[in-house]
């Protein structure tokens, strides 16, 4: 190549990372601003959880464990809210707890966004209860499998546990019809399967970040009823919920993940484009070097 003359290959090779960052930022912002929304179809692994919830008779007990923090809330929070919305719509009893210390603020967020917003008539202590966080990781799960009230003597507000109507016939985890763990690390879905689902023969469903999901596929379908993997999983569940209960359609907080699939799709396409461009530059340079060698 003549000195001083830069072709497209050199430009691509020398491209500043910040150009990539800028394009990624735009690929997320523009679809959000222009409300680019794709319709989402539910995969079997997500449909399994939906079908299980649909099959539970009203009054069945569902435990939801908030095992994540604010960092993964964009992926995990829509999952938790969709599950809670579905459960309350079907008059199932919800038991909230957390094995992560950062779980309770996410529970509070869900209470505000789902229960107070869409189900104000649901009574605390009768239709839903917040047990809060307890330290102990898998040891906690092990303990409450046999005796929940020995660990949770009060609810999150300090009220005696037996003063709540919906706790009277709950002795341990085996009284739950379904356990849903929304998690993003350790302890998480795997610990719930190993220490509650398997030994107690209790159906367990999970919702995890996209990066964790592949690690949990071996547990599906025998030990894990179903799995919400990343934002896609959350969007699929929301899509199933809106299809079955059209009254949720059009509400901003009941289709959060579906709305975020637009930016995710565009961002993935931009990354693919970058990879293709990078490979084009790579092969072009290789050919150029080969030609220079021949010459």
């Amino acid at each position: 190549m003549a000195k001083g003359k830069r072709d497209i290959v050199d430009i691509l090779k020398a491209m500043d990372r910040r150009v990539i960052f800028l394009l990624i930022a735009l690929s997320v912002i523009i679809p959000l601003v222009f409300h680019l929304v794709f319709s989402v179809r539910t995969s079997p692994i997500v449909q399994a959880i939906f079908d299980k919830m649909e099959s539970l008779p009203p009054g069945s007990k569902v435990l939801v464990s908030f095992d994540y923090g604010p960092s993964t809330a964009p992926e995990n929070q829509p999952m938790a809210e969709a599950i809670a919305r579905h459960a309350l719509q079907r008059d199932l009893k919800l038991y909230f707890m957390a094995v992560w210390a950062t779980g309770p603020p996410q529970t509070e967020l869900l209470i505000a966004d789902v229960i107070n917003a869409d189900f104000p008539k649901k009574a605390y202590g009768k239709d839903w209860i917040n047990l809060g966080f307890k330290a102990g990781n898998q040891g906690l799960i092990n303990a409450i499998l046999l005796d929940l009230k020995s660990m949770y003597t009060t609810d999150v507000h300090g009220a005696p546990i037996n003063s709540f109507e919906m706790m009277k016939d709950v002795q341990n985890l085996t009284d739950m019809a379904l356990i849903v763990c929304i998690g993003s690390g350790f302890p998480g879905v795997r610990e719930w399967v190993q220490f509650a689902g398997d030994p107690g023969d209790i159906p367990v469903a999970g919702g995890v970040t996209a990066v964790e999901a592949p690690l949990l596929y071996p547990y599906y379908p025998r030990q894990l009823l179903g799995l919400l993997g990343g934002l896609q999983g959350a969007a699929e569940y929301e899509a199933a919920l809106v299809k079955a209960y059209p009254q949720f359609k059009g509400r901003a907080n009941s289709e959060q993940a579906v709305q975020l699939m637009g930016p995710q799709t565009v961002a993935h396409l931009v990354i693919i484009a970058f990879v293709i461009v990078g490979n084009v530059a790579f092969f072009a340079e290789r050919r150029r070097l080969a030609r220079a060698k021949k010459a």
């Binding site: 960092s71 993964t72 190993q194 398997d198 030994p199 990066v211 964790e212 592949p214 690690l215």
Partner: protein, 444 residues
Amino acid sequence: MTPCSRKFCCRPRDSKLSLVLLSIFFALAFLLVQPVLTLNAETLPTTGSSEPESIQATSQSAQSTLESIQAAPPAPPTNVRAFDTPSDQGGMMTINWTKSTDDVPATGKVMGYVIYRSEAPGGPFEPISSVALQTEEYLDTSVRDNVPYYYRVGAAAQGQVVGLSEIVGPAVSKQQWFNTRKSNLLAIALIIAIAILWFVYQARAGKKLYIRRIAGIEAVEEAVGRATEMGKPILFIPGIQDMDNVQTVAGLSILASVGKLAAQYETKLDVPVSRSLVMSTARETLKQAYLSVGRPDLYTDDSVYYVTDEQFGYVAAVDGIMVRERPATCFYMGAFFAESLILAETGNSIGAIQIAGTAMPTQLPFFVAACDYTLIGEELFAASAYLSKDERMIGSLKGQDVGKGIAMFFILLGTLLATIGAVSGSDTIVVISDWLKNLFTLNF
């Protein structure tokens, strides 16, 4: 170090090895005889009446209702057994039975089963729980150890009418000394442990053991040398987990080797840590490493410093250190989570040579994509053996290979059996395949 010339060296340090081998022998012996020792399921011949009876009503109206349908209570469950739950920590009794002949969901005659318990054969029997129809087992977790209990099971119909079984007992709950459900786990653990110890022994006896080269480990010295030449510091991150994580311990073992090199080359070593206990341990490790090469003067406590326990606060701080201090070499050795790519990309942006090692399968792809060398999974644990060149630690690597060999053999065998069973439909193959699957199933 001279190899031991006698078959069994009687030096004090070896008594530990002998103790271990002896313990393993006794464990194996115990494993073989334990079914005799722990068998204490007790079901004595039944006592009490053989006629079904209704529960005494507490009010006149209930009494009259009961009397009116007393003529047709459901058939009681049969073959009731009550025994101490095996392989438990006590306080649990298992009661099982054959369901009532009237327990047909379509008829709705039986609504469920009620379990009654008493501490005396003549009663009074109190109901302790109820289970759904079609159920044939109940676990009583409210018993006291060494106290005899008597049980009856009743098939419950509408109107509190119960077809009661015969009384069974006494059953006594006790703590067991061995959880037989974990026998397979113990056997596998012992086989692998013995293999590791055997090869450690072989290595100490002077046998040369071949292990393959690992590029990442061989690059450690080159990486430290690069930092020395450039006059820039080395950054070492021992993961973001605490000392109870084996990966952190493995990371600190590598820190010891890197510390020795840094001391020899007089290169600054920076170790920001995420846990206070790791800080204390890393300081001790590094101090000894510097001392062992005769350069204690170069060591300062400030080389190892605590940042924060919070994951993203830590990575923000380390990123800042990287961008400001611009280390020439970055080591990431330990347990990482989502911050792995942030660290690796920042290191890449400053032009540092990066060697990573982690046993977190979800983070390995990020390190492989962004770092120059990556120690994948077990290579992290092997690194300390490589770097220290201690024969015993190298011997332990060979022992791991035995474990891998066993895993590969059974994976192939199981896959073959399952495939042949599915294709041929042969019942025998399917039975063998299921048996093999159960052999490796963990029951807790």
